[in-house]
């Protein structure tokens, strides 16, 4: 009897180890957004809402071989590409990091949604077992319900892209607000910008442009995100007016909201 228990327990433990090794667990709250495939591997990409959309997309993915075995610790880079009628351009993409349980993580910032004639293509390059692989496939990028990404030219002549990363689920109260900021060096090269400031002024246009107190402007931190505090006094539609300030204090884009100016030319929208 005792032996039987030992065998059962050992078996269970082995099974547990086994399953961890074979199929890395995708966190439950994530949904499958796309699957890319080449002759050797399948790459499943997950996002919080099961789709790609214009703006910031936190992406978790896993690479598996035809046997379903995960490919771990590969060196991965990714390159989104927009095919427009007359031109094509890339998009800001983070470095890809590997997670503890054999998954990959990063984010992509799509400046726009895809439509019938203009589409996004995602290319993943990875090295595993001493060989280089590549996979390219078309992906659907949906329109975001609200404005969560801004692409603009600053007074310094550079083009910038900023996208709202957090709050994902806004609440009444003080929210941690995060955004990413990239400079567009050319159609294909996007460089993360550090040391700037994203000034925020949340407003409710439906309530006489009511604003909230105790907001903290977004500054770049260790994580590469611009981070600050966003106070939301009630549910509903909020316009987060933005101003991009260069390290020396010049405003590169955006205007202060006042009696005569209802909104800045760059802003994010939140509705909850």
């Amino acid at each position: 009897m005792k032996h039987l228990i030992y065998i059962l327990v050992t078996g269970l433990l082995l099974a547990a180890c086994d399953s961890q090794e074979v199929t890395p667990d995708i966190p439950e709250e994530l949904r499958l957004a796309a699957t890319l495939q080449n002759t050797t591997h399948k790459i499943a990409l997950y996002t919080p809402n099961g789709r790609f959309q214009a703006g910031y997309n936190a992406v978790t993915f896993k690479i598996t071989d035809p046997d379903g075995k995960p490919v771990e610790n590969a060196a991965v880079t990714w390159h989104p590409l927009m095919h427009m009628h007359s031109m094509s351009h890339g998009a800001p993409a983070s470095a890809v990091s590997t997670t503890r349980n054999g998954l990959y993580q990063g984010y992509l910032v799509f400046q726009m949604a895809s439509n019938d004639s203009e589409y996004w293509e995602l290319t993943l390059k990875y090295a595993a077992g001493g060989r280089n692989y590549i996979v390219t496939e078309k992906i659907e990028v949906a329109e975001a319900a609200k404005r969560v990404v801004q692409s603009f030219q600053g007074t310094d002549g550079n083009r910038y892209i900023t996208a709202l990363a957090e709050p994902v689920s806004p609440k009444t109260g003080i929210n941690t607000m995060k955004a990413v900021l990239y400079r567009m060096d050319n159609m294909m090269t996007f460089t993360p910008v550090r040391g700037f400031k994203l000034k925020i002024d949340p407003r409710m246009p439906g309530m006489g442009n009511h604003s909230s107190p105790n907001n903290t402007d977004l500054v770049s931190g260790e994580t590469g995100f611009y981070e600050g505090k966003l106070s939301l006094t009630m549910t509903g539609y909020w316009k987060i007016n933005l101003q991009l300030e260069a390290p020396e204090g010049t405003i590169l884009k955006g205007e202060e909201v006042s009696e005569s100016r209802e909104a800045s030319s760059i802003f994010f929208e939140i509705e909850f």
Binding site: G173, G208, T235, Y237
Partner: protein, 653 residues
């Protein structure tokens, strides 16, 4: 039913100073009748508000034609305490549209006991004073069943009222039931100018029943159900769709516990108040909104009274738990946009425990002294997570709970040489901030047009009070001059914060509750009565208030020189009365609060009563000259009612 009618002859207000050597109450007790104020007021079926307005230190803030807010000694309702049969009730409206007094009807009221300042503060910690509304009950007695039916009509706002009272008494049982209904349309100010959004409908049911288990040992149960519908508030941007209160209690009463303890009363009570604001009848609002509010209060008190011939005492142990929640949902004018939701009272729990002791000593034939002492603990807790998160926008470091200790003490002396009665008192009291002052979230004040934000970091407000009164009374003539001064430390008041953005569309700014180093309020009064003959009586009254605060100048809602002069003729069966009320122009107004100078006014009221067999007829004209006026207590200076003819008829059986 003769016993109801005799009280009609008593003067309208009595400053309670008994002539015997019995324990003397030094507080100002406004006793309108022993049985019922119904037959005592100029307008028999007037509202409780009419009845309280101008009695003793009470004034009523008026936001419409219904549910006025009582001010005691010129101080807002957070500083005073209003109880119904000793029960604590919290209004559920963030705009004070439903003061506690609005949940009682004149027809089931026996008396209102008004204590100024700390005197007789057995109900709990307050600064301004207290009002306890006692309901009428028949009590035990010989087997008798009776009642009355009543009806009334007022021409100005076509107010119809009606109802009945029934009672049954026996040696070991009694029951009282009372049902009242009122329905009014818009009223008209002087010059027949109709005031839009001023109608109301109200139902009130009151039940009290007692059972004598054995000699000196009684049980009582009581219930009030009050419901008001479609109440217009012309001075405010919104009306009330429904205001509903259910107030219940059970009480054990024990008489003659021992030689020195003659009364022990213990009551448990529970009440719920629901208040639904409504803007659906307003044609033009920046955004439509719902603003429901709710309070639940559970409490108890246990009162012991005793004494000997030279010393009487009272001890009260009381406590209550209240939960106040008010929310606001605004509906965007942009189709498809999500509703805007916030908590304006973020689910505040108040847990309050209070111990009170009062002693009165007779120090000889002419002198007596009363001392009282109270100690309370007051715990506030933000009971709603969303509410706490919202407030943390303003106060990131605030904690969920705050415990306070509230102390109070008072001493008063009475000396009665010859025809004089002299009173002198000194008191100290503290109060905790009210729910709105501590935790309100964007509460719009339509007077100064500011949004108000509560401040959970407020300290207790303290009051040092001194009062003096001298009465001279001869057979036909009596006069009483009185004054009370309140020195308030850490006076709580909203101060504008220019850095904050308004929430309410069209608001002028945002105020945060802060504390002034000190403020001072002076109340003075002169009352005289002269009886020309057994039939003719004249009474007059002058009162004046002045309030100022450090750094803010005048305090709002202060009484300018106000006067009343009334002439009464009464025989056994008939009474006629003519009363002139007026005030001088208020120049010490508070522009910070949105006040403008209120102009002087004089209003003449006449009324007559006839008692014929079991009938009581009453008719009169208020504002006989149809004067267009508003007073210092009128919110946003909305005009008062113009000429109004009323008829009341009561049939007793």
């Amino acid at each position: 039913m003769i016993r109801y009618l005799i009280f009609f002859l008593l003067p309208v207000s009595v400053w309670a100073q008994k002539d015997s050597l019995a324990p003397v109450s030094l507080s100002e007790v406004v006793v309108i009748s022993q049985k019922s104020p119904l037959h005592k007021t100029a307008k028999t079926l007037g509202s409780v508000d009419d009845y309280l307005a101008g009695t003793g230190p009470v004034n009523m803030i008026r936001r419409g034609n219904y549910a006025w807010e009582p001010l005691i000694n010129g101080m807002s309702s957070e500083r005073g305490l209003v109880t119904v049969d000793g029960m604590r009730i919290y209004g559920a409206c963030t705009d004070k549209m439903d003061p506690v007094t609005s949940y009682v009807e004149i027809t089931n009221l026996a008396k209102a006991t008004v204590h100024s300042g700390q005197s007789g503060s057995s109900g709990g910690a307050a600064i301004a004073g207290s009002i306890d509304l006692s309901r009428r009950k028949t009590g035990f007695g010989t087997k008798e069943t009776g009642g009355m039916v009543f009806a009334g009509y007022e021409t100005n706002n076509r107010q119809k009222m009606g109802g009945f009272s029934l009672y049954h008494s026996r040696e070991k049982f009694f029951a009282d039931a009372d049902v009242t209904f009122r329905d009014a349309e818009n009223y008209k100010a002087g010059g027949r100018q109709e005031i839009a959004f001023s109608p109301f409908t109200k139902y009130n049911v009151s039940l009290i029943s007692g059972w004598k288990m054995k000699a000196h040992s009684e049980l009582e149960a009581s219930l009030i159900y009050d419901k008001a519908l479609h109440v217009g508030y012309p001075a405010l941007p919104m009306d009330v769709g429904r205001a509903e209160a259910l107030i219940g209690s059970a009480e054990y009463i024990r008489h003659h516990l021992s030689e020195s303890v003659n009364l022990w009363k213990t009551k448990f009570y529970h009440n719920t108040v629901t208040h639904i604001m409504d803007d659906s009848r307003r044609p033009d609002v920046p955004v439509r909104m719902d603003m429901p509010g709710q309070t639940r209060t559970t409490g108890f008190y246990s009162l012991l009274e005793g004494g000997s011939s030279a010393h009487s005492w009272k001890m009260n142990f009381s406590g209550h738990h209240n939960y106040s929640l008010a929310e606001m949902t605004m509906f965007s004018n942009t189709p498809g946009e999500k509703d805007m939701f916030m908590l304006t009272w973020p689910g505040i729990r108040t847990r309050y425990l209070d111990l009170y002791r009062e002693d009165t000593f007779l120090l000889g034939e002419q002198t007596s002294a009363t001392f009282n002492l109270g100690l309370a603990t007051h715990l506030n807790q933000v009971g709603n997570h969303l509410g706490l998160e919202s407030l943390k926008i303003f106060y990131p470091d605030m904690t969920k709970s705050r415990l306070r200790v509230l102390k109070r003490a008072s001493s008063s002396f009475q000396y009665r040489p010859g025809l004089w009665t002299l009173n002198f008192g000194l008191a100290y009291g503290e109060r905790a901030p009210g729910v709105s002052e501590g935790y309100g979230f964007y509460l719009f004040n339509s007077f100064d047009r500011f949004d108000y934000i509560g401040n959970p970091n407020l300290e207790n407000e303290k009051s040092i009070e001194g009062n003096l009164a001298a009465t001279w009374k001869k057979k036909r003539f009596s006069a009483r001059v009185s004054g009370a001064y309140f020195h308030l430390r850490d006076y709580i008041i909203g101060r504008p914060d220019g850095t904050l953005s308004t929430m309410t569309i069209g608001a002028s700014g945002v105020k945060i509750y802060e504390q002034l180093p000190y403020a001072g309020i002076l109340n003075t009064g002169l009352e005289t009565q002269y009886r020309f003959s057994p039939q003719w009586r004249w009474h007059g009254r002058l009162s004046y208030q002045r309030g100022t605060g450090k750094n803010v100048g005048n305090l709002p809602l202060m009484q300018p020189l106000t006067y009343t002069s009334g002439l009464t003729f009464s025989t056994g069966k008939y009474t006629a009365e003519m009363v002139l009320n007026g005030a001088t122009r208020q120049t010490h107004f508070s522009p910070n609060f949105g006040e403008t100078p209120s102009s002087a006014y004089q209003v003449l009221n006449v009324s007559g009563t006839a008692r014929l067999r079991s009938f009581l007829f009453k008719a009169g004209v208020e504002n006989l000259t149809d004067m267009y006026y508003s007073t210092y207590t009128d919110w946003n200076r909305i005009p008062r009612m113009g000429r109004n003819v009323f008829f009341n008829i009561i049939r007793s059986f």
